[in-house]
Structure formats: C-alpha cells, structure tokens
Subunit: 466 residues, 2 copies
Amino acid sequence: MEKEQELKNESSSEQKLPLGIEETEDLVEQIQDLIDSDNQPAAVDLFSQLHPGDQGEVIEDLPVATQQGILTAIPPEEAAEILEHLEPKDIAKVSEGIEASVLSDILDEADSDVTADVIRQLPEEQALDVLGEMEEAVDIAPLLGYSDDSAGGRMVLEYIVVKNNSTTDDALDTLRLKSPDSEEVHTVYVINDEDQLVGELSIARLALARPRTLVKDIMDSDIIFVNSDTNQEECARVMEHHNLDQLPVVNEDRKLLGVILSKDIIDVIEEEATEDMYKLAGITGERLFGPLKNSIRNRFPWLSVNLITTFLAALVISIFESTIARVVTLAVFLPVVAGQGGIGGTQTLTLVIRSLALGEISKKGGFRLLNREIFLGLVHGLMLGIIVGLVAYFWKGNYMLGVVLGMAMIGNMVIAGLTGAGIPLLLTRFRIDPAVASAVVVTTCTDVLGFLLFLGLATALVSFLL
Amino acid sequence: MEKEQELKNESSSEQKLPLGIEETEDLVEQIQDLIDSDNQPAAVDLFSQLHPGDQGEVIEDLPVATQQGILTAIPPEEAAEILEHLEPKDIAKVSEGIEASVLSDILDEADSDVTADVIRQLPEEQALDVLGEMEEAVDIAPLLGYSDDSAGGRMVLEYIVVKNNSTTDDALDTLRLKSPDSEEVHTVYVINDEDQLVGELSIARLALARPRTLVKDIMDSDIIFVNSDTNQEECARVMEHHNLDQLPVVNEDRKLLGVILSKDIIDVIEEEATEDMYKLAGITGERLFGPLKNSIRNRFPWLSVNLITTFLAALVISIFESTIARVVTLAVFLPVVAGQGGIGGTQTLTLVIRSLALGEISKKGGFRLLNREIFLGLVHGLMLGIIVGLVAYFWKGNYMLGVVLGMAMIGNMVIAGLTGAGIPLLLTRFRIDPAVASAVVVTTCTDVLGFLLFLGLATALVSFLL
C-alpha cells in the first residue's frame, strides 16, 4: 500500500520520465508477487497507476499468463493503448491466449495499424474468429493485405475526410460525429467528387474560419502523399524531408486510404538504424535476451563466412612459408599490416553505408567519393607507413624490413579506401543491400591483399632482409 | 521554359517523393547556369516552383553567393521555411553575407528553435545586429542560453497557452489571436494562476466542446513534460516511449517554456544513430564531402590508437619468435585465431552498444547478458574450434597443431564474449561513452590474448608439433 502511495506521488512530481530499467524490474517483481499470492485485484490496481508507455515496458517482462490476466482485467481502451507500446511479435504471443470476444473488444479500440499488425501475427483460425467479433472488421480487413513495412502497413484509418465543396460548418459537424479519439486528429483531408485527395486543412484553421466558408477556398492543395506500397523507409525519408506531421497514403487512383503519423515513423527510423548496425556486424534479427538457439542461428553463419576468409588469408601466408622460415620477424608484423587495413576499410565502409542509407550519394557523387577515399587511403598510408617503417627499423634493426612494411602499409591503406567505398557502391548498383555483404568482402580484401603485398615484397627483397 | 513546364507537371503527378539526388544535381546546375548568364529572375522562378524540402536540398549545393541571392529575392516566409531544412552550420555560412535587416525579416518568420540555432552560429556582432532588428527578439533571447542538444535548444515557442479557469470560448479567441501559423498547433497548454503547467487540451476537443465549458473541466491533466536541460536523446526516448506528438518543456517551477515537436525529434533520432555508428568506427564528426583536412583530422587519431594496439599484438608474437622459427606453420594460422575473435567480439559489442543506447539494459540485465555472451562465446568457440582443428590437421598433417589451434579458438571466442559485453558495460558504469572506446579495447583483447593463447600453447607443446 505504501508503495502504491509512493507511485501516486511520483506521478505528480516535477518531471515525468519513463521508468528506469531498475524500477521496471522492481514493478514486474511486485506485480508477479501479488499474482502469486492470489491477489490479482491489487496487481491490476498497481499496474493501472502506471503510464501507458511504462505499462508497455512492465507487461513485456511478465509471464504470458499474467499478461493475459491483466489485459483482460483492465478496460479494453486501456488495454488497446498498451498494445501500441508492444512489439507485434510480443502482442501475438499474449493475444493467443485471450478469448476472441475479449480480444476483439480491445482491438476495436486500438489504432488500425496496430490492429492489423496483431491480426496478421495471429494463427489463421483465431484471426478469423477475432475479425468476426470485431465491429471495425470491415475497415481492418483491407489493411491485412499490405506488408508490414509498407506505407499501407504503417498507416492508420483514424482520419477525417470532407468534400471540397462542403462548408467549414459541415466539416466541423463531420469532425464532431466521426472523431471519438479527437486527440490524434490535427488535419482534415479534402476529397473531390471522384473521392480523390485534393487538399488538406488543419483543424486549427477550420476552427477559426468564418462560418459558411467553402472548404476548397481555405484548404492547402499543395499536398505531399505516397502510395500504399511505398516502403516505410521511403515514407520516413519523405516525412523528414518535408517536415511533415502526417503523411496521407493513396491508391493508384489517388483515393485516400490512410494516414501515417510522425510518432509512428519514429519507430521506423530507430528500427532501420538498428538493422543497419546489426547487418554490418552480422547479427541481423538478434534480440537481447532471445533464446540462445536463435542467437547461435543468427551469428554462426556470419562467423562461418568469416572463417572462410581468414583461411584465405592463411592460405596466402602459407604460400610464403619458406620466406617466413628465413626471416621469422616477418610473422611479427603480419597483424600490423592487416589490422590497420581493416580499421581504415571499416572507417570508409561505415561512412559510405550510412550515407547510402540516408540517400546522400548520387551516381556522380559515388565516383567522386571513391576517388576521395582512395586519396585519403594514400595519405593515411603514407603517414602510417613512415611511422611503422621507422618503428620496425629501430626495433629490429633492419632498414629493409622498415621499407617493406611501410610500402605494404601504403598499399593496404589504398586498398582499404578503394574497397571500403567501392564495394558498397558496387553492391548498391546491383541492388544488393550493401550493409549485409560489404564488411566481410572489405576485410577479406585488406587481409588477403595486405599479406600478399607484405610477404610478396619481402620475398622479392629477401636477400636484403637477411 | 520547357523544363519549368515539366516541373509544374511533375508537381501535380501521382506521388510526391523528394527529388532524387540526380535531379537535385541537375537543378543545381540549371540554376547556376541561369545565374551565370545573368538571368537571376529565371533562376529564382525555377527555384520557387520546388517544394521547401527540395529547395533545402538544392540550395545546399549552390555557391554561397547564389544562395544569398536567392534567399533575399524570395519572400521572407519562404526563405524561413527553407532554413528549417538546412543544417545550422550551413545556415550560418549563408547568413553571414545577408544584411541584418533582411536576415531579421526572414528569422522573424522561422520557427524559434531554428532562429535560435542560426543566431547562436553567427559572429557575435552580426548576431546582435540581427537581434536588434528582429520583432521577436524578446522571445528569442532567452533561447540563446540553452545548449543545442538540450530540450531548451530543441523546443519551439510557437504554442498556445490558456488559463485553467477560462472558458472554451475564451480559449478559441486566444487561438484566433495568437495563431498566425495555425498549421503547427494541435494542442493548447493550460496553466494555473501561478503560470504553472497543469494540463493540455487538443484543438479538436476545444473546437467540439459546448460553449462556456471551463477549460479545466475538459483538459487532460495527466501530462508528460521535461525540464529545459534534459538531453535531446532523453526527450526522444520520452516521446517515443509515451507515443507523443508534442512534449512540453518547463523550468524548475513547472512554468511552461516551450514545446518539442515530434517532427523535430526525428532528426535527433537519426543523428544519434549516425553518431553511434560513426563512433564505433572512429569517424565521429565526419561529413561526406567535407574538406579532406577534416577527414584526416577525424580519422587519423583512431588509426593511431589502433596502431598502438596492433604493435602490442606484434610484441606478443615477437616473444614467441623462437617457437615460430621452429614451427613456421604457426604463422599461417595467426590471422585465423585473431580474426574469428575479432568478428565474434564485434558481434557482441554491436548488440550491447545499441541496446545500451536504446536504454534496454539494467544492472541486473547487464550481469545476465555478460554470462549469456560468455556462454555463447564458448558454444561458438567449440563449433569453430572443432572445424579449424580438423582443417589444420588435414591441411598440415599435424594432429597437435589442430588441437592447439582448436583450443586457442575456444579460448579466444570466450574472451570475445567476455570483453565484447564486459567492456561496454564497465565503461557505462564509469559514465564513459561505450561507443567511442569499446571497439579498440575489444579487438586489442582478442588480438593480444588470442596470439598469447595460441603461441603460448604451441610453445608448451612444441615437442609434439615438430
């Protein structure tokens, strides 16, 4: 009881930040303890006092049975808001155990994009049951055809439409009738007699217009929109580019199908950035505390591919075994040449891949970038080459060793620039996702060619090295 | 002329996507050609037909003189909208050449966060001149004290406030008076007699309320807000967490200072993701086609730090030179042990760093994660160790070589899991940004300890290797 009081106090205090992870863990424990001691009402009560965003975090970490108990005990509109904070996969897991009649009530209250996401993830039989019980089934059904990551999959149906030749009074009446969840609506969309999207109008402008003004006289007709099959990343790019709060989605006849909200696109941008980082490291699809089996299945292929490339490098060294047998010191400097090449290549690669993802590189720009990176590789190679050459000379007292190492370093840094920029640009040209495949190709090149340069030069000049 | 016609047509066509990079380059060329042939009106005309977002892209690539010519030739409100699509640094460069009287007119029309950004970047004298000429100087001045990346630096002043004991009619009148740029306003904030933020109210609800309803009776008093010094990343996290469109910013007395818009927070999320990726690769602050000098200054320190670590690895190999002299084949497998460790370490590291950035790891979770990654390292090590051991045995016909290599592989993959998870978690505990420093420490560990294990074992068992 005291804890509940504390929570209440906290919610009226100065700044409202999301629960810290420790606090979330504490709450999860408290709620589960209450459930375990058969005090479900107290558990639901404690849970209800949290903000919807925090409720999402807490419920995520509870066992499925508790999740279901809570979601069915609270009012459907509150349950719907929590769903909006969960990952579709998690929702599906929770939803599978909830009765169709209860689940349909909850989904009737949720944003249509969330509803469609959930139904898409349910087993087919349950999906049909739930749809059958839903009031909004007719509206939701067409959404099920769009893929998750398209404009159609991201849009919501909670928008208001008025005719272009209606008056502002009519429009306000429509708004009054159709807007139960009025918080979310800022913009009214305007259509013509063929139901085509022809303009938009902010609610503020509508509220402030003189009575009997025609909508078409005050609407903004210079609107930005996308088609339903536009990729979600492209939608994010458009909204960012044009500084939009909402983005209408139309079909091929320019009929309005739905609206994408900027708060939903924030998730898209965060997901895509995570995906690109994970692809570069070969851990696509990884989840922090997912089953170990999945982690192994995710990471091992990448480790295996890289194993082949390290054996390629080993093969190159093997070719020069007799040189190494004569000048063993060469083995000492193998990681220096390959390591610096790998680092330089990764620098260039990261820059190019992120810039490609943000749509900042044109064909002409790509060529310019390639030249720039090769030149940078040369400059860095010269600087590093002189340093490592001198270090090797003073350390091992062999000036030719310094020369060979320095020259290999220059060559390998140029290779790093060339491949770090060239490979992702080339893959993009062939429509292969550069984030997935580039890293392994670039490090293979810097390893294999680096060793080849270093040991090749050493073999050619071996008489000076002895 | 024909080209202009084409553009007009394009802007009424089906889908409105941002200009492609090639189209942007073409337009930049056309506009510059028109300027060069002394036909500024045609250049301005061509430019004016573009969407503000596209105008931002195009103007970015024009020479400063042309930028200034265009920005001063178009109406101030259009120029203001373009500024919102440019980077603050670029705006400052353009602004420096524009007369204070013209620039102040433009900035009076811009969102207050953009205005403050621009003024912060101007040379002090010009900043004072411009502020002196601005109508909104009194409003903007307090913003200048906030840092760029805080809630205070990101908030706008374009919001509407009403008293909690006023009626909805009064509130609508206030809206009518104070909202010149009504598109952007969706929410009215409610304050009490002490000017403290006590609630919020959507314009839709306001427009639909019965006349003479008291604002406090229909407002939502359960509001989320942040302080002005909250970091922008934290603000993004709050808005995402609570699915917010707007986030009010208050001072320590809970007085409303401004509002952060979700469309502005999209930039923050994209920037922060880019920053984390760049930090991991050691290219913080890099710009695609920035001056070469800057790129070298950005990247070379990282290359130098890594040089030290590769020399550490070289030092380890050097200790075992006599073993390698006896069994030269050992040199062949050096990149296999180190390479796989590096890859495995990077996988773990990327997962942990991104999860830390997204705020998904608690203290308890960190410990669990560390154990999990060490165990995964062991599993991967066993799988890889058996493979490489067999390959080495069949390739070089020496079973003990296979055993030594396999055992080193197992050990190094465990080290990869331990350091890949442990180092970023440890750095976070000491409040050091894990993205900057982790990568170099992890690869140093997998290189140095990998070689130490492999060559150490080989030395101990050297009699079996001959």
